[in-house]
């Protein structure tokens, strides 16, 4: 384990307008992308709001064949991967494709297509023995989420190790952690790594309805997601993708690449307790944070900004606040903590990568994106949540965390290129 992994390219398709710069501009202004769901008619649902991408696959440059064979999640990933590749300036003609790998984080696969095709072959839920005569030729690529890695590999030209990392809502962090591990062990020089999910469709919306985990502020979508606020009433589903070019430091230096940040520490832990529940004392997330800092050999008080999971549920935000106190000690009260889910929602397996993109851009641009909609203090959530307005700040060390069903907890530590010696 000798290699060092740096991010040299970033591509984003987030709620609102696609593209890295549109994403950054939106979150740094504290604007939210939440609205009444337009991807289907949400009238019969308990929660009828979502943070949707204004995404047209043709305008985004995908070929007709790519559009035909991919789900919305795959389309997001293709666009984000191409933006990341272009941003990195990686010249594939000069690279050995065998030394380039792919890891794509994902939570719920090609969920929209799986549901749409189910409706067709089952005659809208009438037949258990579904009708093969209405089968779409790309159905197999929908049922196998691994197709998301295939698409990104084809788009980037990678021929090294490729996989989909599918640890639920931590997948977006874990896919980056996986990439960093492969670079450090020397299996690859470059990873095209990130995550994608497009869950805003009836079955996922009804799942969160049934769990009573999503916000019901249907009359005020813009202010529905209120992480850490006393009046928070649940998460808002989002969608999108962020993909990175991550490469070994010397490889990046040799080709004179621009470096956004180094990924210096990563850890995943499980709560081993409940598939959806969290201990109020913040133990499991705190352990992931501590382990990531240990790997990075960084002291808690060096953290300049914590990019929160901050889903806006009662349970999470309390757990997470406690986790910062457990893992960072007194520094928890000093470090700015913000949740961009207040603006882009919770895109399940993808959000961890979108939040890493926000963290990397925060280092690059010297600004901390705010927590939108934060107004009323909760006695159990008593940290500095950067309410409403972005802050200028020189950031050397940034922590980003995630938490998800199955008990998964992950944390990643990024440092400014100023710290690379």
């Amino acid at each position: 384990m000798t290699g060092r992994a740096v991010i040299t390219g970033i591509g984003v398709v987030a709620p609102g307008q696609p593209g890295r710069e549109a994403f950054w501009e939106m979150i740094v202004k504290g604007k939210t992308a939440t609205r009444r769901i337009t991807l289907f008619d949400p009238t019969p649902f308990r929660s009828r709001i979502g943070a949707e991408c204004d995404f047209d696959p043709e305008l985004a440059g995908l070929s007709y064949q790519e559009i035909r064979r991919t789900d919305r999640a795959g389309q997001f990933a293709l666009v984000a991967a191409r933006e990341a590749m272009a941003d990195s300036g990686l010249d594939m003609d000069a690279e050995d494709p065998h030394r380039i790998g792919v890891s794509v984080g994902n939570g719920v696969g090609n969920a929209i297509s799986m549901e749409q095709e189910y409706r067709t072959v089952s005659d809208n839920g009438r037949q258990w023995l579904v009708d093969q005569g209405y089968m779409k030729p790309h159905l197999y690529s929908y049922v196998m989420s691994s197709s998301l890695a295939t698409e990104v590999a084809w788009a980037s030209g990678a021929e090294g190790p490729a996989t989909v990392v599918s640890s639920g809502c931590c997948a977006g962090i874990d896919a980056v952690g996986y990439a960093v591990d492969l670079i450090r062990e020397g299996s690859v020089d470059v990873m095209v790594a990130g995550a994608t999910d497009a869950p805003i469709y009836p079955v996922t919306v009804s799942c969160f309805d049934t769990l009573r985990a999503s916000s019901t502020s249907n009359d005020d979508p813009e202010h529905a997601c209120r992480p850490f606020d006393r009046r928070r009433n649940g998460l808002v589903l989002g969608e999108g993708s962020a993909v990175f070019v991550i490469e070994e430091l010397e490889h990046a230096r040799r080709r004179g690449a621009r470096i956004y940040c180094e990924v210096v520490g990563y850890a995943a832990r499980a709560n081993g307790y409940h598939m959806t529940g969290l201990r109020p004392d913040g133990r499991e997330m705190g352990e992931a944070i501590t382990a990531a800092l240990d790997e990075a050999r960084i002291n808690p008080d060096e953290i300049d900004y914590a990019n929160a999971h901050g889903s806006g549920t009662k349970q999470n935000d309390r757990h997470e606040t406690a986790a910062y106190k457990r893992s960072l000690g007194e520094h928890a009260y000093r470090v700015p903590v913000s949740s961009i889910k207040s603006m882009v929602g919770h895109s399940l397996g993808s959000i961890g990568s979108i939040e890493i993109a926000a963290s990397a851009l925060a280092i690059d641009r010297g600004a901390i994106p705010p927590t939108a909609n934060y107004e009323e203090r909760d006695p159990e959530c008593d940290l500095d949540y950067v309410p409403g307005t972005a802050r200028e700040a020189e950031l050397d060390v940034v922590l980003s965390v995630g938490s998800g069903f199955g008990g998964f907890q992950s944390a990643v530590v990024l440092t400014s290129p100023r710290r690379i010696t």
Binding site: G107, V143, A149, W154, P161, A162, S166, S167, F408
Partner: protein, 403 residues
């Protein structure tokens, strides 16, 4: 850290509901392929599958857990119980953060999912059950195992179709190298609901042969595709030092080498990546081709893919230079469980010094393979190579060595 070793094995397979029953059937050449019984397959062109028909989920987990899980996870409950007992692991003897779960998954809990989709569209959104959120997604099995056995270290889930079981073993090796002491690794899958089958039909690689004994015959000139199956294997993996220190009596095998590659995009004219995966895995194990005593081939059953694999093997080892076998001819391809089951077969082959046969196959001489057919072959085995390919371009290879 010393190389990781497999100290416990658990299996659920179409031709055996536990490790030893499955292994006896495998050596006897007893196939688990038959007409699909989970539902009436009459209307579908594919009617043969490898089903774990005699499996009783309630024998391996409390009813509460059975209610909130898909069959894919229930198989993992059973295989994990067996693997932990086999390795004489009492999870309470370990610190919870020192143990982790890393499984492969491919299609999620498709039967559970189809049932809830049917509720959604026939009754409305309020009919969708709370367990849908935790049963259908790809991470369900790892999450449930982590909770059930109190394993709180770096857990993970990888999806690379049939290659995932080997990728999970490689990720297991990584987390052990970072300090985790014990990992449950492997994969299980249950892809057979009507919607699950129709999804698979669309890949054009399933065999439409209705006679179970002719449906899945990789490397045979009559190969007509593959048969899907369900089940898989779970392993207990730990460092050799740790295993010795806690007095483990039997170490099945050391995980000595691994590599994964990805095929060039279609139309590039460049060769597929399987051969490179074999070469890199051998290099990773610091072994030469002649050190390999047996190859557990991927054996897709699709003529062009069989030809590519045979060519890769001939290129690395020379024609007919190493015994090759495909015991999955008795189970079908188990997707996320497939490569894991092949690892289990390789581990037991090393234990018993016997190569399990491929059944029903008459290898096409053009493939120039020394395929072990019909009867097991007793021979000295020290090193086994397991190959796997996942739909969409994934290749992986693992080298296991007897210790």
């Amino acid at each position: 850290m010393s190389a990781p070793v497999i100290t416990g094995l658990g299996v659920v397979a179409p031709n055996g509901q536990d490790r030893e029953a499955w292994w006896r059937a495998t050596l006897d050449g007893t196939s688990g392929l038959g007409r699909i019984s989970r539902f009436d397959p009459e209307r579908y062109p594919v009617r043969v599958a490898g089903e774990a028909t005699k499996f009783d989920p309630a024998a391996h987990a409390p009813q509460r857990l059975v209610s909130e899980t898909d069959a894919m996870t229930q198989y993992a409950f059973a295989a994990t119980n067996e693997a932990l007992a086999d390795a004489a692991v009492v999870p309470d003897d370990f610190a919870d953060l020192d143990m982790a779960v890393i499984t492969a998954n491919s299609s999620g809990g498709v039967e559970f999912g189809q049932r809830e989709l049917q509720k959604l569209y026939s009754e409305g959104p309020q009919a969708v059950g709370a367990y849908m959120s935790i049963a259908w997604f790809y991470a369900a099995t790892t999450g449930q195992l982590s909770i059930r056995h109190g394993m709180r270290g770096p857990c993970g889930v990888l999806c690379s179709e049939q290659a995932g079981g080997l990728d999970a073993l490689a990720q297991t090796r990584r987390v052990l190298a970072k300090g985790t002491r014990l990992v449950l690794s492997g994969g299980t899958d249950a892809s057979l609901s009507p919607y699950g089958l129709v999804c698979q039909l669309s890949n054009g690689r399933l065999s439409e042969e209705h006679r179970p004994e002719r449906a899945y015959v990789p490397f045979d000139s009559g190969a007509s595709g593959y048969v899907p199956g369900e089940g898989g294997a779970i392993f207990v993996v730990e460092s050799r030092e740790d295993a010795r220190a806690r007095g483990v009596e039997r170490i099945y095998a050391e995980v000595s080498g691994y590599a994964a590659t990805f095929d060039p995009r279609p139309g590039s004219g460049r060769p597929p990546g399987l051969r490179r995966a074999v070469e890199l895995a051998l290099a990773d194990a610091s072994l030469a081709p002649e050190d390999v005593d047996v190859v557990f081939a991927d054996g897709y059953g699709v003529p062009e893919l069989d030809r590519q694999e045979a060519e890769a093997l001939a290129a690395v080892f020379g024609p007919e230079a190493v015994p090759v076998t495909v015991p999955k001819t008795m189970t079908g391809r188990l997707y996320a469980g497939g490569a894991a089951l092949d690892v289990a077969a390789a581990a037991l082959a090393l234990r018993d010094q016997v190569i399990p046969p491929s059944v029903n196959v008459r290898p096409d001489p053009e493939h120039r393979l020394d395929l072990v057919v019909d009867r097991p072959r007793e021979t000295r085995l020290r090193t086994a190579l397991v190959l796997s390919r996942g739909y969409g371009g994934f290749n992986a290879a693992v080298v296991l060595r007897a210790v």
